[in-house]
């Protein structure tokens, strides 16, 4: 008998298991399939730094949350509606987030005495009534997976590993998803025919189980979202940033060079770009963070579009190199995929706490432009813009991303390369009147490549004389050059488009954000406005320089609230620069903002006084 289908608007699911259980693969597959089904979505992979923590332990729990909807989606969801927990530790680590009355899908086989104790439960949560507030669907996922692949006579260890696809199959049935995309993925991914067949069987068995079991009396359907017609793909921030640099290379005609040292969560950019050698991309895995930036400086000097990618601790090591790039006035993009700090901090957890480091963390007066990407897809455009400014203004530029958007993914309208504006590049070749530190209208110096006859010159980190670039210790010249370097950054603001405020253009409260908090703030502001509050949302892309119209916009509101995943960094810069009483809304838990937290903060601001 055909089971009933219930239509719902929005669902958030969290997959949780051991870090070796394949939860990231499961989540990614579900996301891709959901995107193909025409829903809008946002994802949040959340995993430990340990590659394989002891099986069944709390430290090893890896999670992947996805929210999908027939409406527009800004965040991966506050509290999941469904939790798939592959073992007791995964249940314990995630249950507190599950919505009251939410659906709980458990792998009963893993709830044995050993795992229950290892997770830290005194009694079995399946038996002690502690899950009574939820809809519990407990199934022997491991056992059924083993039976599904029995004929293949696989080694037990490999057979058990297929259980994530069984679970995925169940959830596919539950949400009326087509398994075709995942079938194709498994066929391409697994070279070993036995493993390929085993995973396919597990997936199909899971789907069939959903269909036939008495556990589920109906399935769910989420209608297609009203998405603008066009071509789409799923993209994570690290993928988008990598493709953005490739695009910038094509748009400028410059060869791409990346000097990098592996660091979480930035390494994927190095991995991605290393695969594009056929497009002329040179990647250099340096011996350390310092060599990474210094090699990029050398490449920029020699005429490449040069990049270095890192995260907070690596950025600290690059500080002196950034100062050198600034003094040499060479184009260089420094990507900081921020993570929770200080020191090693929490490498796989997100934060926005490097803003003041990139603004001020260098010796001397050392202004460097700073741009921040706001969503996974936006990383593509932010990367191109960082390159454009670096090349046109002959300056290092910091591009801020963070763990949340770097690893999170969203459906993304595919850009048409032929419609993106070119990045103009001109190398100095004319001998007559050449001076290494002469200036154009943007105050950029000429880019004269080694190998150019007649333009032999020397540059370095020592203060240089205006125009000639010769070493200079002249007091007045140093003050002049220091101010000029500051002015060079301010010049960038003259070419920025006007800021766009979402929601109320003036009134009670402006919520001012930057970077990855975009989704949560936009969703929170929308909710507050629907509840009748007068609120605007302004999201900054350039943090140095501030756009020229920012000051006027701030003054149009009675209050300014600045939510940040730090203890209040942008808010300091805003207060210092504009003398407005901007209030900080900090969160520093290694987790992104929830929409509900933003709504609450907005209400508290509006109720103050």
């Amino acid at each position: 008998m055909q089971k009933a289908v219930e239509t719902v608007q929005t669902v958030a699911i969290r997959f949780a298991g051991d870090s070796g259980d394949g939860m990231q693969v499961t989540g990614t597959q579900f996301s891709d399939t959901t995107a193909l089904a025409g829903n809008d979505l946002a994802t949040f992979p959340d995993f430990p730094a340990e590659i394989r923590a002891p099986a069944g332990s709390l430290a090893g729990v890896s999670g992947f949350q996805i929210k999908f909807s027939s409406e527009e989606v800004f965040t991966p969801g506050d509290a999941p509606d469904v939790l798939v927990a592959m073992n007791p530790a995964a249940l314990l680590a995630n249950l507190h987030d599950l919505k009251a009355g939410g659906m709980l899908i458990l792998n009963s086989e893993a709830f044995n005495a050993k795992n229950i104790e290892r997770a830290g439960y005194a009694t079995s949560p399946l038996a002690d009534g502690s899950l009574s507030g939820f809809k519990v669907y407990s199934a022997d996922i491991t056992g059924m997976t083993l039976r599904a692949v029995e004929e293949l006579k696989l080694n037990q260890r490999f057979a058990v590993r297929c259980k994530n696809f069984f679970a995925l199959g169940m959830v596919y049935w539950l949400y009326n998803r087509d398994t075709a995309h995942t079938v194709k993925w498994i066929e391409e991914k697994f070279r070993d025919p036995q493993l390929r067949e085993a995973n396919l069987r597990a997936l199909k068995a899971g789907y069939a189980f959903g269909e036939t079991t008495e556990l589920f009396d109906h399935s769910y359907e989420i209608k297609q979202a009203k998405i603008k017609p066009g071509r789409y793909r799923n993209i994570s921030g690290n993928e988008a940033i990598s493709l953005g640099f490739l695009a910038a290379s094509e748009l400028s005609g410059l060869n791409l060079f990346l000097g990098s040292y592996p660091i979480t969560p930035a390494s994927d950019i190095l991995h991605n770009l290393a695969r594009y050698k056929h497009l002329g991309v040179r990647t250099f895995q340096a011996e350390d963070e310092i060599a990474a930036i210094c090699s990029a400086i050398g490449a920029a000097y020699a005429g490449s579009l040069a990049l270095t990618t890192t995260s907070g601790p690596g950025l600290a090591l690059k500080s002196e190199g950034m100062g050198l790039a600034l003094m040499l006035e060479l184009p260089l993009v420094i990507v900081d995929v921020q993570r929770a700090g200080p020191s090693t901090g929490m490498p796989t957890k997100t934060e926005q706490s490097d803003l003041l480091q990139v603004m001020y963390g260098r010796n001397g007066e050392a202004p460097i432009p700073v741009i921040a990407a706001s969503t996974p897809g936006d990383c593509f455009y932010a990367a191109i813009e960082a390159c454009r400014v670096a090349v046109m203004h002959m300056t290092p530029v910091v591009l801020l991303s963070n763990g949340y958007i770097a690893n999170g993914a969203e459906p993304w309208p595919i850009p048409d390369m032929s419609k993106l504006p070119r990045i103009p590049v001109s190398f100095r070749t004319e001998r007559e009147g050449y001076q290494p530190y002469s200036r154009d209208e943007r105050l950029a110096r000429p880019w004269a490549l080694p190998g150019t006859p007649g333009l032999e010159h020397r540059i370095g980190g020592i203060e240089k004389q205006h125009l000639t670039g010769n070493i200079s210790y002249d007091p007045a010249n140093h003050e002049f050059m220091s101010k000029l370097r500051h002015e060079r950054v301010q010049k960038i603001a003259d070419e920025l488009p006007p800021l766009e405020v979402h929601g109320d253009p003036s009134g009670e409260l402006l919520v001012l954000g930057w970077g990855d908090t975009f989704g949560a703030i936009r969703a929170g502001v929308e909710t507050a406005r629907q509840q009748g509050h007068s609120v605007g949302h302004l999201h900054l892309r350039w943090l140095n320089p501030f756009p020229n119209d920012l000051g006027d916009i701030l003054k149009r509101y009675k209050r300014v609230l600045v939510p940040e995943l730090n203890l209040g960094q942008l808010v300091k810069m805003i207060r210092a620069r504009y003398l407005v009483d901007a209030r900080s809304f900090p969160k520093i838990q290694g987790q992104p903002f929830k929409e509900s937290e933003i709504v609450l903060a907005i209400k508290q601001q509006l109720e103050a006084n």
Partner: protein
């Protein structure tokens, strides 16, 4: 399709180049009597003979007295930050194999703050010429002991003498599997020129340690090796394929004793074939020579090791070529991967 934005040039005819073409208009600001003057002069003498247009040279340095060197060369030059010159130079050479890149560094720059980059550039065998001016002291910071100063060195930061054992740059370079390793002396003009020429012609990282006198903070550190009266008994000049002999009348030599221990012998007391013969292609020979330390042994100068191994920049170019021949793909095609259409 990518634009071609890189300009093409008609290059200077190298046969017309003279020493003066490599001299800048900047006043040289080393202390009068510094060994750096001699090294600068020898480099400028060698340059015109190498057959490379002036505009293709890039001199890269770090921080320290020697690192002012690029300002005095009428070529392209980058005076970078402390210890990092090999990394900057790697970025230049890896992206522009057409350039001839020289790195100028000192004992502090290369072996203290930049020790990491030093060993890695050597193991990668990036096609650079790396000149290490070793004066066994920190000059620019006004006289602290360096990682090559002998134990017991009394300097500003070690009033009772240093207690840490020095590094031998040649041994470190050989340990990092350098393909070309040589040593010379600042004032040995002809010898230095010969070594520099060999280094320039080597494809890969060519490492040259140059003993250089700091007449302000460590005067006379190499007197025994440069003084007319003493040098012949304290210097072992290496020549490929020749027995290792030294002394006024080449009356002494190096032989191997029990336990593979080198020993100094009087040539008259041994047969010719008991003397060690220098072989630049033998790793063991180079390692052994690098461990000959005064006062027990004479100090070897010349080319310790010269072998061929593909350079990093060449391998990188080959990988790009190979990748291009396997796969053609546009950025748009990459963007389109995994696409679906709505509406």
């Amino acid at each position: 399709m990518k634009l071609n934005v890189y300009p093409q040039f008609e290059h200077t005819d190298p046969s017309t180049q003279q020493r003066k073409d490599f001299v800048t208009d900047q006043d040289v600001r080393w202390c009068p009597g510094c060994g750096d003057y001699s090294v600068l002069a020898q480099v400028q003498r060698v340059m015109p003979s190498l057959g490379i247009p002036r505009e293709k040279y890039v001199f890269v340095s770090g921080i320290g007295c020697s690192s002012r060197f690029p300002y005095y060369m009428e070529t392209y030059g980058v005076h970078s930050i402390h210890g990092r010159a090999p990394a900057v130079a790697t970025g230049i050479k890896a992206t522009r194999p057409d350039l001839q890149v020289w790195v100028i560094t000192g004992d502090g720059d290369a072996l203290s703050i930049g020790g990491n980059h030093f060993i890695h550039v050597l193991r990668r065998n990036v096609d650079l010429k790396l000149l290490l001016f070793n004066n066994q002291i920190y000059g620019l910071t006004k006289g602290q002991y360096s990682p090559t100063s002998p134990v017991g060195k009394k300097a500003k930061s070690t009033p009772l003498g240093s207690i840490d054992y020095p590094l031998d740059p040649v041994s470190v370079a050989l340990g990092a599997n350098a393909t070309f390793v040589a040593r010379s002396l600042d004032v040995a003009a002809n010898h230095l020129q010969g070594v520099l020429k060999r280094a320039a012609e080597h494809k890969g990282t060519a490492f040259v340690e140059i003993y250089q006198n700091c007449n302000i903070f460590n005067d006379g550190a190499f007197d025994l090796l440069t003084d007319k009266e003493t040098k012949s008994t304290h210097v072992l000049e290496l020549q490929h394929g020749k027995p290792m002999r030294f002394g006024k009348d080449l009356e002494r030599g190096i032989a191997l004793g029990p336990g593979m221990r080198p020993r100094v012998v009087e040539c008259a007391t041994v047969t010719e074939d008991e003397l060690l013969v220098h072989d630049e292609t033998s790793e063991v020979c180079a390692l052994l020579l690098s461990r000959l330390q005064a006062p027990e042994f004479p100090t070897p100068i010349g080319v310790f090791r010269a072998v061929t191994r593909p350079s990093y920049d060449t391998l990188m170019e080959e990988q790009l070529e190979q990748a291009r021949s396997f796969k053609t793909q546009s950025v748009q095609q990459l963007l389109d991967e995994g696409q679906w259409t709505v509406g």
